[in-house]
Amino acid sequence: MADEGGEFIDVQDLTKTFTVRRRTGLLRRTAEEVRAVDGISFTLRRGEMAGFIGPNGAGKSTTIKMLTGILTPSGGRLRVAGVDPWRERTRLVRRIGVVFGQRTTLWWDLPLRDSYGLVRRMYRVPQARFEENLARCVELLELGDLLDVPVRQLSLGQRMRGDITAALLHDPDVLYLDEPTIGLDVVSKARVREFLRTLNAERGTTVLLTTHDLSDIEQLCKRVVVIDHGRLMYDGPLAGLHEVGRGERTLVVDLERELPPIEGLTGARTVRTEGPRQWLAFPASASAAPLVSRLAAEYPLVDLSIREPDIEDVIARMYAR
């Protein structure tokens, strides 16, 4: 097969333009071309797990839609598993799994078990294989008690785990996840991440993960692809992203009393003060430990916490360069 060993997802100079009609007068409308995706190129090997990030409206969803074949590209070349997704959508859908954090592929009124039965028939999964896959997901995602509960009665985290299972019953080669941890609590997030890590390691499933939560990427992906305004901004390891974006972490310090802004700490600067609370920015690549010990030694420290840079910050800094 064409995709064995080589590039599993191959995107070259991919472009998508939409025509947006705007009302400019009482009856007049003008058509305007919007380039949602503007010449993106990247490749993904089989079994790779990559983060796909960018601010809202960057063109992530549009790209995913083209990768899954439900949107036609306006230009460029696109191959998934050696297949043109749009032309051979019905063939490709059997090889991909898609999970949307904000949408569900399950049937609202049916118990999870019934939804899975329909999925089995849709994808013609052999009974033995189906049961094996289901048992595995049920065990790893702890769905055992939930199989007979109608989807509408599930919590967001439970439903998300149910959706991930539904996307994997037919053994897809590639899994697209769009914001899979959005709105989930810490425990559910951890469970989903652990599951994805196992899936990728054991099955070699290629995973492309869209998220706003940088910690998803940090814990799961060695590689990250950043796009903004339809253009590729960065493609490489996460650590490199912080360097490129000169990512900064923030130390939030609570002092015993209101003090003038903390000064004289190497590598850190006070960016904000509010009563006894101060915000210190320091490079994401530096360790927080020496900073914390100096603070504790020299200031009346009550409490502190560290905030990781979020993706908007990092991208904003990439621009500022």
Binding site: L71, V93, D109
Partner: protein, 268 residues
């Protein structure tokens, strides 16, 4: 074979989904029965003044009322069923998820809606008809053959009703708000199915036209098949329904292709 099994499974799930709402079903049965009584007394008054109106005697007219009530929910004369769900999926974009599935959109929804209809025929049809038969003198046939033909006509009515509602729902791809169109389609369906008055009572060109429109295949024809009042016999009625079913399903398929292309090219 695979396709048959899949669609049967989809239909069964459609049946089950509606079967979970027991209170709603009971409320529906109650409404249909009350509505049936109101219409029945209206028809009695009408047929008392004008015996043999539309070619029915009074007991045939009353049978028409109760058959209508028994089929109302199942045939979705007032809209609804899969239509609400499908329209909502088009509006909020969830329909994109349906495109990820290796199944045919139209066949999928048809199977789901037939499952729902099967439940509503049993859950909301049998009791009102039984109540009507106990309270009034109905002209129900005794031969199993007539009932079999009637069931076939009901099945075709369900397909025609589905195909009509599928077209209406698909228009949602272009109309951002399909409320107006839905209201219009409900109104047309309510009147031209014969739900308010049998279409046979309307004289002249209007009556002729009304009896040729697809909505007449959803209630008027099945009722006439049961009453043995179908002009040209039951076979003519079934052929009329089959014709509309094929035409409307084909139209739905064509519109679906255009709608899918629109989503696929323009992103919805």
């Amino acid at each position: 074979m695979h396709l048959l099994r899949l669609n049967f499974a989809v239909a069964v799930s459609g049946f089950r989904r509606y079967a979970t709402y027991r209170v709603a079903t009971a409320a529906g049965v109650f409404t249909n029965t009350v509505f049936g009584f109101i219409l029945a007394y209206t028809f009695i008054a009408l047929w008392h003044e004008r015996p043999h109106l539309g070619g029915y005697d009074q007991s045939q007219a009353l049978t028409f009322v109760w058959i209508g009530q028994a089929m109302l929910a199942s045939v979705a004369v007032m809209g609804g069923g899969f239509q609400d769900e499908f329209s909502e999926r088009i509006r909020n974009g969830d329909v994109a998820i349906d495109l990820y599935r290796p199944v045919d959109l139209q066949l999928w929804w048809l199977a789901a809606d037939l499952g729902r209809a099967a439940f509503q025929l049993l859950g909301r049809g049998v009791v009102p008809l039984a109540v009507g038969a106990l309270a009034f003198d109905l002209a129900l046939p005794a031969s199993p053959g007539s009932w079999l033909l009637f069931l076939l006509a009901v099945l075709l009515a369900l397909v025609v009703s589905f195909a009509l509602r599928y077209l209406v729902a698909l228009c949602g791809f272009w109309l951002l708000d399909a409320t107006g169109l839905n209201a219009l389609s409900t109104l047309l369906s309510l009147f031209f199915s014969g739900m308010l008055l049998p279409l046979t009572v309307f004289p002249g060109a209007f009556g002729e036209t009304a009896r040729l429109l697809p909505w007449s295949a959803t209630l008027q024809v099945p009722a006439d098949v049961l009453l043995g009042a179908q002009p040209g016999g039951a076979a003519a009625g079934l052929a009329f329904q089959t014709g509309w079913a094929l035409v409307l399903l084909a139209a739905g398929r064509a519109l679906q292709t255009v709608a899918t292309r629109k989503v696929v090219v323009q992103g919805g």
